[in-house]
Symmetry: C2
Subunit: 413 residues, 2 copies
Amino acid sequence: MTKLKSWIPVDITSDFSIYNLPFGIFSTENRSPRIGVAIGDKVVDVLKVYNLGVLSPKVLKKEIFDNLFLNDFIALGKSVTNEVRLQIQDLLIQEQSLLKNEPDVLVEQAKCTMHLPVRIGDYTDFYSSIEHATNLGSLFRDPDNALLPNWKHLPVAYHGRASSIYVSGTPVIRPNGQRVPKGEINPVYGPSTLLDIELEMGFIIGKDTEMGESISTGRTSDYIFGMVMLNDWSARDIQKWEYVPLGPFLGKNFASTISPWIVTLEALEFAKIEAPKQDVEVLDYLKCERLNYDIELHVDYTPNKGIVKRISVSNFKYMYWTMSQQLAHHTVNGCNVRVGDMMASGTISGPTPESYGSLLEMTKAGKHKIVFEDGMERTFLQDYDAINLSACAVKNDIRVGFGECKAQIIPAK
Amino acid sequence: MTKLKSWIPVDITSDFSIYNLPFGIFSTENRSPRIGVAIGDKVVDVLKVYNLGVLSPKVLKKEIFDNLFLNDFIALGKSVTNEVRLQIQDLLIQEQSLLKNEPDVLVEQAKCTMHLPVRIGDYTDFYSSIEHATNLGSLFRDPDNALLPNWKHLPVAYHGRASSIYVSGTPVIRPNGQRVPKGEINPVYGPSTLLDIELEMGFIIGKDTEMGESISTGRTSDYIFGMVMLNDWSARDIQKWEYVPLGPFLGKNFASTISPWIVTLEALEFAKIEAPKQDVEVLDYLKCERLNYDIELHVDYTPNKGIVKRISVSNFKYMYWTMSQQLAHHTVNGCNVRVGDMMASGTISGPTPESYGSLLEMTKAGKHKIVFEDGMERTFLQDYDAINLSACAVKNDIRVGFGECKAQIIPAK
């Protein structure tokens, strides 16, 4: 990969290197929400760049960038969105760049409010980490038969709630609901006592399909615009009682948090890595090159008034089912997808306890405590605790990261 | 109820009496999609009525009616939408009505194309018919313990797919997918061989809530704009293999069909009836007046090149969990709802085989054949078969119906 350097100073620890250039929706005190691109600790105001007349694809219009969401931009297709990204990259590299004389084009990230980047039509959550599925099967069913018979034949998934997906920074209110206290058979009502996290990555659909249309594994990259981090908050006590036979519902749909910047699939190209071998032969429509992305994932836990601790280091490369397989499966029945839909990985756990993606797994369903530096202890989330997810692909000098995906828990209403 | 009569001739068998006046989105050869109200075999072009200056609420604007969806109209709130409906009712009753001189305001339904009435943000499907849940539990688990322990404590539900909800008349393509042939353990790929219907009703959310906000059972009618019919097509072979542990996914999300006209809750007021008694005491947040709606439901089956047969007569009044309880439960954890969201009943089965709402139940999972007048036989849907649902509340001379909810099955791709 050619070495690139921006005239904007970018710290080597920054997630937003010149190789990244993710898209998001930002506002400032004086500017309504619009499309931005992150570079170092700045945001490029893409509407202003457009107004300079330096973006060449002819289909572009002012309304595309002066927009509450990225959907209209993404819908222009990769030939356009990739070109815009590369043109912005050029403008951030050229010593004679026009942008240098336009200080207004660059805004301090610290002064920006970030918004939900896309209007999410439908949200699907997969269950594609074999370590996570095995851990859960062992905890709740049978360690010798932890995976259900279908698990290695298809990427299991369910539909989540799109309305309650919030951008990083939005506080999460502890949900009320029904749970059955230990040893009893009837439910009681009250705030969830087993509030958990789920470390996930999501991908954003970049192209519509029609009813009846399937996306083959070889064509999926055309349909994946980019990726975000996702914390799929889970109330385990509510979930446990409600989930048979139709799956999780109120235990999940009170809130999910995503990171504000969508990192394009093209920016992650350099991080491609072989995916885990699949030891059961899959049906033809799920066969494909075993390609994954090497993205290190972190969970940082700050207990109420306590000291932050990194409680997990996982990696997207562990995924047994790849995004390609997920999307091929999702559409094999002709289910249509739309620009802005989000499909998520499910909790990403690695092979060791240090790489588990949920408190349920880390604490073995509450049996083991997480101990913090100052002696504080936790099993599940308490009020005013905060979680931050981070994710980064690094190779040689190239660093492409996802920023923050954080939220604090506030008490139930 | 005061007897009302329109100067437009309305057949006594028409679903669209002067008492009904449901809202929908229609287009004709010369007119782009816009809001309409059904009366008899006509559609009132509400944009044209607005342009006459006879609708008084001040918040109304042209763009509200010249719209691809009803969402913006519904979002104005019931004080406005009810007033508009009653003003249109007046205009259709008054002998001196302005509309009489505006022939262009009334369009033949036969010349209209109906569109999806709302942009559906999220779609939730409940499982609230005790007869249906009992039948399924008996068929697949244990007739003596047909209901799972949570069923009488909460209205079980799952999230469905919003992108694949189509308006009545849209053909449904038979889905491909994985199924496990009888006696085998590995799945094969191909068109579903057990394609089924689900007779349901859905309600459309009329008012947004914020994260953390719950809707108490006493306040739900403010949040329910109206109702539609829903056929939630189901591929039982795909569903059976995929659904553990996270619930139905590809077995359902290829297509759902809804009726084009949203019948307002106010138009159904006269059809209120006592709901079935609940024999397990529910938690306080689910307690409320046991009110349901007496809406007769029909399933008409036309086999390929065959003669139509009415295969089921059911009723919405059988619902064990009411819409009020469903909405209170859905939001008890603070999950936000948005104007245009759809929540559906789940399959509505009555107490006898003649009132079952799915082929699975009617044929006892394929054991008993449905025999048509000309000797044709069916267990599950074959290609080019068509299903039409209808629904109607009738009391004395008042008739409020839902029109058609139909689709034909076309072969898998």
